[in-house]
Symmetry: none
Subunit: 377 residues, 2 copies
Amino acid sequence: MARSRSALLTTPAVPAPSFRDQILQGHCVSQMEMLPAGSVDVIFADPPYNLQLAGDLHRPDQSKVDAVDDAWDQFESFQAYDAFTRAWLLAARRVLKPNGTIWVIGSYHNIFRVGASMQDLGYWILNDVVWRKTNPMPNFRGRRFQNAHETLIWASRDSGAKGYTFNYDSLKAANDDVQMRSDWLFPICTGGERLKDEEGQKLHPTQKPEALLARILLASTKPGDTVLDPFFGTGTTGAVARRLGRHFVGIERDVDYIEAAERRIAAVEPLGAESLEIFGGKRAEPRVPFASLLEAGLIEPGTRLTDAGRRHVAHVRADGTVAVAGEAASIHRVGAKVQGLSACNGWTFWHVEAEGELRPIDELRRLVRERMAQRPA
Amino acid sequence: MARSRSALLTTPAVPAPSFRDQILQGHCVSQMEMLPAGSVDVIFADPPYNLQLAGDLHRPDQSKVDAVDDAWDQFESFQAYDAFTRAWLLAARRVLKPNGTIWVIGSYHNIFRVGASMQDLGYWILNDVVWRKTNPMPNFRGRRFQNAHETLIWASRDSGAKGYTFNYDSLKAANDDVQMRSDWLFPICTGGERLKDEEGQKLHPTQKPEALLARILLASTKPGDTVLDPFFGTGTTGAVARRLGRHFVGIERDVDYIEAAERRIAAVEPLGAESLEIFGGKRAEPRVPFASLLEAGLIEPGTRLTDAGRRHVAHVRADGTVAVAGEAASIHRVGAKVQGLSACNGWTFWHVEAEGELRPIDELRRLVRERMAQRPA
DNA sequence: CGACGGACTGAATCGTAGA
DNA sequence: GTCTACGATTCAGTCCGTC
C-alpha cells in the first residue's frame, strides 16, 4: 500500500496531479502500476546492478573495500534479474507519455541485459551515453582495466515516437557551439554532496552526482515536466528536478532513504523562471511566411532574387511565390529546383541586391520577427 | 568447404598448427567448427551491428550519407539476430583455450544483445571498454547526441577462469604510470590507412583503426599467441597481429575482402620485441562545456557576467546559455553580439565578480580542467 | 615552395506543425 | 488518423587545386 508523503512544492495555479513531487513508499512495480498511464514525461532509473561479488575485496594496504552487498542487489540468477528487469521496464513503459523518454544507468554487470530487455519490450534506443568518471576507484588487483565509466541508455517509448524533448540548441550553446557528444565527463559523488549518517558513513552506496542528473534533465525535459524515478534512493533526481523547476515522482522501498531524501529535497532552493528558460535556437523562432515580407513592404513584387554566386535568378510575384522561367513555387521549392536538389532553405539561399551588396532574405525575415516581437499578433 | 589460403609468415622453429596465419574462406560458424577445440588464445570479433536504417540521410549541404546497407547487416528481427549471435558465440567459445579471452565490438544497436548472450552462454565479462572517437560523424539533424563512441566487451571463457593474459604493468607504464582506464581515445580509420579500391572508394564500410587492435593485442596477448577473427573483413586484426609478432586466424566470406587482406598483411613489416603505442601522443586540452562550470558549482544560474570594462552584462541560465536583454545564446555568441563583432572568445571576454575583483571565467575553466585531470589516451 | 580554400567523408537506427 | 509544405541541420579531418 502506498504511503503518500508530504508535497514539497507549493500549490501551482492549475491543480496538479496528486502524485507529483512526492515519494511513494513501496516496490517500484506495484507503485508504478498505481500511477496513471501516460502521465510522466521522462523516467530516470538507476536499478540494482546485480553485482555478483563473490568474496571481500581488499586494497593493497589490506583495508576492506566497502562493497555494494545490500539485499536489494542480490538475485538468484540472470534469469531472476531479467524477470525483475522486464517487470519494472514494462510498468515504466505504461506510465510514460507516448512521446516520453527513459534513461537507465548501469554497469557491465547489468546494462547489457537491461538494454536487450528494453529493445525486446519495444523501447527504441536513441543513444547510449557514457559517463566517464574523473576519479574512479582503481582496480586493486591489477587484473583488469580500471573500471572508469558507467553506461546510460536513452530511449523513446516506441520506435516511431515523434516529438520527444531534446534541447539540442541549448546543449550545443553550452558546449562551445559544437553539438553535445555521447561521452560525458563528471566526478563521482563525494564530499559535501554525498549524504552521510551520524557516524559519517555514506548513507547510500550508489548515490549519483547531481551534475549527471542536471545534464539529463536539461537535455530531455522542459520546465514543468514531470520526471519519475522508480529507484529513488536518497533523492538525487528529486533534488535536481526541484532546483531546475521540474516535477518529480519518487518510488523507494527503504523508509530511511525516503526520510533522508525528503530532508534533502526540502532544503533545495528552486531557481527562478528567468534562469530556467531553454535556448531554442532557430527552431523556436515563430514561422514567418515569405508573403509577410511583401506585406511589410520589405520586398516589392517583381524584385530579382539571386543566390550568393549569382548563378540563378528568380522573380518575386505578388502572391508570395517566386518564379524562374515561368515556373513558380515557394522560395524553397524553386531554390531546390534550380540547384537540382530535393530540398533547400530558401531563406538562406536567395538574396536581394541592396546598395550593390547581396543580402540574404533571411535578414529581412529577422526584421519582420523583430517587428512582431514589439507588436505581438 | 574451407579454402586454405597461403601462409603469410615464415615457418617457425616449432611446427605450427596448419590453420595459423591463414584466412579461411566461408561462414564464421562452420569454419570455427572445423578448428580444433581450445586452440586460440584470444578472439577479436567485429560482428554485423544490425543497424536497421530506414531511409536516406542527407548532410545539411544536401549530400547523401553513404550508409552501411550491405546485405550482411540485414536481419529479419531481433530474434534472428540473437540466433546468429548465439551461434557464433557458441562456436567461438569451443575454439577458445580455457584461459583465453574474447573481445567483441559493437554499437548501441547490437551490443546489449551481444553482451546478454555472452553472459547467457557462460562467458564472464572482465570489462566493457569504450572507444571514444576523436572525429565521429555528427548528428546531422540535431535530434540526438552525437554518437561519438563504440563499446567493446572483454570476457573470459568461464566465470572462474584463471590465468588469462592481461599485461597490466606494460599498459600502466605506457600510460604515464597510471592504470589503463576503460575509456580509450582513437581517431576513426581514415587517410592512408583506409583501404581503397581503384576508384578511390572505401573497400570495406567498417574498417577499424589499427591503433585499436594494437591496444587490444598489447593488453591481452603475448608474442607468439594466436588471435582468431571470425569477421576478418580486410584484415586489420591480421595486419596488427603480424606486426606485433602474434599469429592470426581469419575467417571471411567475401573473396574480394580476403584478397585485399592478403595483400595488406603480406606488406606488413613485423616488429621486434619493442612495444608500440600509436596514439599515446599529446592531446589538445579537453574541451570543457560552459555548462560544466554550473555542474561543478563554480557558477550559479542567475550569476551576472561582465566584460573587463563592465560595459556589458549577461545573466547565466541553468541550461548553460547566457542572456542579454532576453536574448540567449552561447557565451561566445552573446559576447560577439554585444560587441557588434562576428566572433568572440567568451572564455576570456566574460568575467565574474569575486571579492570585489573581476576574474575571467577562463580561470574557472582551468579549475574544472584541473579537477578533471586524468589520462584517458 | 607553402598557404589557403573548397570538396569530400565517416557503423546513422537523424521532423513536424498545421490543414 | 493522413497528407503537405515548411525549412532546419555538421565535426574533424584528408585531399586536391589554386594562388
